[in-house]
Structures are given as structure tokens and as C-alpha cells.
């Protein structure tokens, strides 16, 4: 007789439970191949369930080949089902991710102030535009992105940066990280080698490394990449942040831009221009993209994560025509396309110039916060620091000459509830920027800035001296 225990109040139907118990007994060898099974009527009586239940369970077992029944003979267990028990792997406890933690002083970089984003307006737009999408847009609509969005981005690049781009050259991505990830795949020829700024955003560096790239660092100073150090030993591309070097904050001057482009032409390389936050420049107009100097060789990467909100997951690349076809192929076999809803809403947000207005407001706000940050830093730390970079972006780098900020410093801070990033963390050749901290301020109001900097004073005072 079969030993079967059914739970009457389970989410699982009785038939499903019965099926699973029998199946497990078969694969465990308790019900060996060829073993006779009771009829559905007999089993139903035995278990005090309806005949439908046993019938349904046998149906499933039969359909999947666990049991066999031939006309005129009883049902038997099929052959070849037995599995030994798997060896259990050690269970790792789920880790709390970075984003789930709360800090007393949160100086993470690259965070816009989400409390100031007009969420309600956005959701209204999202609904309105989603309703107008044709049924075809609920299916596969192509790896390029929504035509309306590509056109609006082209118009916006022209009015905000003077960059004239054919909408057909704009390809929507799921953010800038994906853009770089796909570009790395696209450009990787025989030589998986890429020239990058040092320091460089560690996340982006890891993207390149994950694609098997050798990294060739070029040092950075107050003005960005030191192009005089450019040397080619077989790289396929240069990755740069000329509008606002991450993390040091410099704007690449024209002569270095020209040198960089000459270098790329002489060595037949592409330049990947990551323009992650040039909208937020607090004096003068946004810097003209490198791309405007040579759109055959410079691939421009833009994102709406900083301008709007990171969860939007919409970025784009501007590609020269010879890369369009391979890009379509690559995106199709990576994750096919972006969802259309956010794209449609964003197109409308651009078309109605709500984006321009939002940027204007946020630029004013972030500019004020930068001022506040600098004043508070002077008030709290005194004159022991020097600011780096141009008046732009959502973060600042402060140099504290003679101090030493390493991994232990950051760890110690985090234990005290302070999130702060030593520039060393983003350095490739370690040791050149030990005296600098990258501090995000865009998402913090003046009270949060004050509290945060007050908390940070003690760890800085206690930091190692070189």
C-alpha cells in the first residue's frame, strides 16, 4: 500500500499534491520501475478523495511518461526514472543590497534628487501616451527604439547642445551602462584593448572588464584626460567623459579634444564619449559634445538617469552609419528592445519641452546646493581642502593635502553610517589620488548636507596622514 499524506488546506490542489508525491517516490526509487499502481478508484477510496483527483494525478503522470498503462493491463511505473538524491549546495543567506541600506550621511555620487521629480505629472504622461500606442507596439517593435523618441532626442540634442544628429543614428538603450556594454561587444575586434581615463567610473570599468577588455589607463588632471600620454599599442577604442570627467570633474579643453580626435584618426580608433551629466553645468552653457567635431569616429552616449530618474532605464547612443546593422543584430540577441511605455512618455516629455523646464529648475537647485556644500565645507573643515573640477554635475571631489583615504577609511565611515567614496576607489593605477574624496551632493538638501559634513568631520580628522 502506498504511503501518501495529503494536506487538505494547501494552496496546491489535491491532484497536484498526489502527482508530486508519486513522482518523487518514483524518482527516489521507493516506487521501482515496473511496480504496479492501484487503480484510480482504489486509490481514491484509500485516500478518501474524489475519483477525479486520482484520475487527474494519473493523467499528469501518464502525460509526462512517469507511468505506463497498456490496454488490458494495470498501470505500472515507467522505466529509467530513478535519480540519486542531489548533493545540497551550501545555502547562502540573501545579502542586503546597497540600495536597501540607509545612511546617516549619504554622499553617494550620481544621484539626482528624486523627491523633486514631478512624479505625478510623469505618471499622467505615461498613462496618456501608453493609451495611444498601437497594438503593434505591444509586440516586438524593433531594437532601435520608438521613432518618436529618436526624433525628439535629435531635436533636443540640437537645441540643448547644438549637436545635429539624424534620428536614424540614435539608438535607444536601457541606460548608459547597457550602451557601454553593447558598444564593448560591438567594437571588440581582434584586440580587446581599450584606452580609458584614470581614474574612471569603476562601474563602467567593470563593464569593460566583464567583456574581456584589457584596460590601458591615461592619467587625468584638473582638465580631464592628459592626452599627451596617449599611446596606442593596439586598442580598438578610447572611452572618455570630456564634458565632466568622472570623478575628477574637469572639462576637456579644446586643444586636448583636437589631440584626442587626431589620435583616434591616426590609429583608426573609435572614441566613446560618455556625456552622463553635462546638463548640469552651473556657469555658461552646456559644453559642446566631442561628437560634434567628428561624428564618424565619436560615438556619443547619453542617459536620462541623472536628468530624470535612474529607474527609467532609458539611455541612447549616436552611432555612425556603418555600425547600425551590427548594433541591431547585437541588441536583438541581448535583450531585444526597451519596453515602449517609458519611451513614449519620454518622447512626449521632450516634445512638450517639460524636460527643458525640469532641467532648468534642477540646474538652479543643484547649483545652489553646490554653493551650500562649498560654504559648509569651509565652515566645518576650515581651509584644509581644495575643490577639484568645474562647476558642474551632482558631485564634487575635494582634495585634503597630506591625508590618506583608502578602503579602510571608507569601510570605517560606512560602519558609522557615512557613505563616502575615496577617489582611490575609481583609480586604476592605485596611489595617485589617495588624498581625494568624491562626494555626491545633488540629492541632499542643505540640512542633510550640514548634518552629513558634520558627521564626516571626525573620520577626516582621524584619517591617516601620508
Amino acid at each position: 500500500m502506498l504511503v501518501i499524506e495529503l494536506r487538505r488546506h494547501s494552496q496546491l490542489s489535491l491532484a497536484r499534491q498526489l502527482y508530486q508525491i508519486l513522482r518523487d517516490q518514483m524518482t527516489a526509487g521507493q516506487l521501482p520501475p515496473g511496480e504496479l499502481l492501484p487503480s484510480t478508484r482504489e486509490l481514491a477510496r484509500q485516500l478518501e478523495v474524489s475519483r477525479n483527483t486520482t484520475y487527474e494525478a494519473y493523467e499528469m503522470l501518464s502525460a509526462e511518461g512517469y507511468i505506463v498503462s497498456r490496454p488490458g493491463s494495470q498501470t505500472r511505473v515507467a522505466d529509467g526514472l530513478c535519480l540519486e538524491k542531489p548533493v545540497s549546495a551550501p545555502q547562502s543567506l540573501p545579502q542586503k543590497t546597497e540600495s536597501q541600506l540607509n545612511y546617516l550621511a549619504d554622499f553617494r555620487t550620481g544621484r539626482p534628487d528624486l523627491r523633486r521629480f514631478p512624479q505625478h505629472l510623469w505618471l499622467q504622461l505615461l498613462r496618456k501616451t501608453s493609451e495611444t500606442l498601437s497594438p503593434a507596439h505591444w509586440g516586438y517593435s524593433g531594437p532601435e527604439g520608438l521613432p518618436a523618441l529618436r526624433e525628439e532626442i535629435a531635436a533636443w540634442l540640437l537645441r540643448s547642445r547644438g549637436l545635429a544628429v539624424d534620428p536614424e543614428c540614435i539608438f535607444i538603450t536601457a541606460g548608459a551602462t547597457q550602451a557601454l556594454y553593447l558598444l564593448a561587444g560591438l567594437l571588440a575586434g581582434k584586440n580587446r584593448e581599450i584606452i580609458v581615463e584614470d581614474p574612471c567610473h569603476i562601474g563602467m570599468l567593470r563593464v569593460l572588464q566583464s567583456k574581456g577588455f584589457q584596460i590601458r589607463p591615461v592619467p587625468v588632471d584638473q582638465q580631464g584626460m592628459q592626452t599627451a600620454y596617449l599611446q596606442n599599442k593596439g586598442a580598438c577604442a578610447v572611452y572618455v567623459t570630456p564634458s565632466h570627467q568622472f570623478p575628477l570633474g574637469g572639462i576637456l579643453p579644446a586643444s586636448r579634444r583636437a589631440e584626442l580626435i587626431r589620435f583616434a584618426r591616426d590609429n583608426d580608433l573609435y572614441i566613446i564619449e560618455d556625456d552622463y551629466d553635462s546638463e548640469f553645468r552651473y556657469s555658461g552653457t552646456p559644453v559642446a559634445p566631442l561628437c560634434s567635431m567628428d561624428n564618424e569616429r565619436v560615438i556619443y552616449v547619453g542617459t536620462f538617469s541623472k536628468i530624470l530618474f535612474p529607474a527609467l532605464r532609458v539611455g541612447y547612443v549616436v552611432l555612425p552609419p556603418q555600425l547600425h546593422k551590427p548594433w541591431r543584430h547585437l541588441r536583438t540577441h541581448t535583450d531585444v528592445q526597451n519596453p515602449p511605455f517609458e519611451q513614449a512618455a519620454l518622447a512626449e516629455y521632450l516634445r512638450t519641452r517639460k524636460l527643458d523646464k525640469h532641467i532648468q529648475q534642477m540646474r538652479r537647485l543643484y547649483g545652489q546646493r553646490r554653493q551650500t556644500f562649498l560654504q559648509l565645507a569651509e565652515e566645518i573643515f576650515g581651509n584644509i581642502w581644495i575643490p577639484w573640477g568645474d562647476a558642474a554635475g551632482l558631485h564634487l571631489v575635494l582634495e585634503f593635502p597630506g591625508r590618506h583615504f583608502d578602503r579602510d577609511f571608507a569601510k570605517n565611515c560606512r560602519q558609522q553610517g557615512i557613505y563616502v567614496t575615496p577617489v582611490e576607489y575609481h583609480s586604476i593605477c592605485k596611489g595617485s589620488h589617495l588624498d581625494k574624496l568624491a562626494l555626491g551632493y545633488g540629492h541632499l538638501d542643505s540640512e542633510e548636507l550640514r548634518q552629513g559634513l558634520l558627521l564626516l568631520k571626525k573620520p577626516i580628522d582621524n584619517s591617516k596622514l601620508c
Copy 2:
């Protein structure tokens, strides 16, 4: 005197135009290094624009290092700006993508009927749930996906398939293609070799090939992968569709499932189980996933593209604990995460059992269409064909013994407005399935089916004979 022509009615401000013209003249060498520039006042007079305009243009040029001015001396063109003209690459015309074409008879596979999706209800849910998302969700919320969605998927896997899964093991992806793409990256050890069914979805095959995998095909019959042919020469994984083999439609019987799992255990391989449409099974309940037999070794991949709509871009993987950490790292450096809005709406759709109801309705509809399709095929083609596979899914494979369907056949059909896929297209070892066609019917109503099959009759009658 400078030769400058400004357009008064351009979208571009006069200052921006002036800046661009001067910059272009400098990089083209027309304004050589060291050249003296007129004062802003002088230039304003010359061009008949306001002094603000010339001032702003000079400000931009100066900020970006195109011009230099020292106290007490005039403004000059900076050094090192000159670029030769780039060589233009040939411009390729934009191609029409597959999704933009319309067919008279559209038998594409894997297409749900989007006209039957309750779009209005979905958009209401999208708005409602988006409004309840906390500001933190507009930022980065982690590569795992929304906790609420992971829990609802776990509950749904239990009630629909009897699959008990810890929500912590479920990781949301941007569809099944991305899931496979990331898994390929995760599992690629020293040996980039993977065992797959032959025939196998060509898109998925290309994903694996794009990650540099060697493909080891195993032949498929009416019941799915012929596990007796399994042989290991250093593969790291097996990719299978046991619930409904794509494209041939077999359900892998229990003994083969057990053999596959024993093989994976003996050779220390992972199994990637792609369950792309098992919801739509028209007799009996959905097949139990292979994953339920060994959740340490089988990685389950699910998608909502077929159940709901492709543009949703939400799928998931069920991962054993030892893969959680590397997965998080990989996703973070690929495209970070999915947008939260669709995830929140989907969680609610699952929680309120609207998904269950939708599947039930669509299963009935697709089941009827399958019947209609088979009846019409008999009526129109006579008895010259044999159906393959189980009563499931959104497509059918028909074998026409003695016929020969190759690339030319498909191309010829497309020229006549008929989209049809020879199974040969999905074959790895070419030539074994030349007499079979894969025909999607899920998205076609009975009139469309009739029209489509009538159109298809002529090309089939005229097809080559072996």
C-alpha cells in the same frame, strides 16, 4: 574680417551658431593658432547682433579652451586645434525591420494575439501601482527585481506548476532572451561549449554563439531531445525546452528527464530549462518543470512575453543559491535592472489573479484556433501532411512527406506576402527536417487562418520534391 553668416530663424540661438562657426573655422585651420579675434563689441556691431550674443559665444569658446585671453591683451585662437577633414564613411540607407512589414499571411511563431490583451485594464494597473511606488524605487533598486513581483511569481509557480521556489531565488530579467544571454555569461567557464536541442530556436542559438559558445547539437524527435545521444566533451551546460520543444513541439517524457538529470549530475553541468509557453497546453494541466526534479542543477527560465505581450520585457530566472552573487554582479554591469513600473503592475496582475484568468481565456482561444487550424489544413491541403508535437503552444509543425522546404521556399513565400518558417531554418545539422514547416497560429483568427492557408497552398504545391 571674419566671414560669418547667421540664420535668424534657426532653432539654434545666435550665440550657439556663432560659437559653432568660429569653432569649425578654428578646427579647419581657417582661423589659425594665435590669430587675433575682434572684441565682442566689435564683432556684435559687425554682425548686427546684440553684445550679449557675441559675449556668450566667446564665453563658450573660452570655457572649452578654443580661445585664450590674458589680462591686458587681446583674445587669440588657442594652439593645437587644427583637425583635417574626416573621411566620410559610406552612408547606408535605413532598413525596414521585420516588425515594420505587413504580410498577407503571417505565420510567424511565438506571437500572442495582442488584440485580445486587456490593454485598458493593464494601463489602469500600471498607473495605480506606479503611484504607490516609493521615491526610492525611482532610483536604483537593485538587480534582483521588485520583491513584490518575485513573491508573486513564486506563488504563481506553485499554484500553476506545483513548483515550490524561494522568492529570493527568482531574479527578474528583461525577457527570456536576456535571461539566456546573462546565463551564458554566468556559466562560461574555461569551456565555452553548450549542448542544445537540434532543431533549436535560431534566435536563442545566436545568443549563445554571440557569447562565443561552441554548439553541441543533440537530435530531437516527436518527444523532444533524444537523451540517448547525450555525450559530454567538455560542455558547461545543456539548454532545453522540455515542456514544449521548440520548434518540433514534443513534451519530454519522464524517463528522458531523469536521464538528462543523471547526465548533468555525472558531468557536473547545469541545465537551462526554457519554459517559454507551457501555460498553453490544451489537454491536461501544464507539465511540471524539470526544475522540480533538481533545483540545484536546473536553472528555470520563464517569460511573460507569450502570456501577456512581448513589449512588456519581463522574464525571470530561478537560480540556485551559489549563482546569486555572480548573477547580481553580472546584471549590475550589463544594464543594471528593469524599470520598476511594469514590474509593479505585473505583481498586482498576479496578486489579483488577473493573470490566471487571462491565461485561462487565452488557453481556450488558442486551443480553438489550433483545432480550426488543423481542420482548415485538412480541408485545404488534403491528407498530405502530418502534425508534430503535443497540443500546446502558439505554433504547429506540419510535416509534408516528400516535400522540400528551404531558404528559397521561404524567400519565395515572403515575396508573395506569406511569412512561413521552414524548420530547416532552426536546424543546426542541416537537412534533417527539410519536409517540415513551423506555423504560428496563436495570433490569427479563423478568417485569417483560412486566408493564410489558402495563400500557402500554391507555394506548397509548387515546392520541390525530394
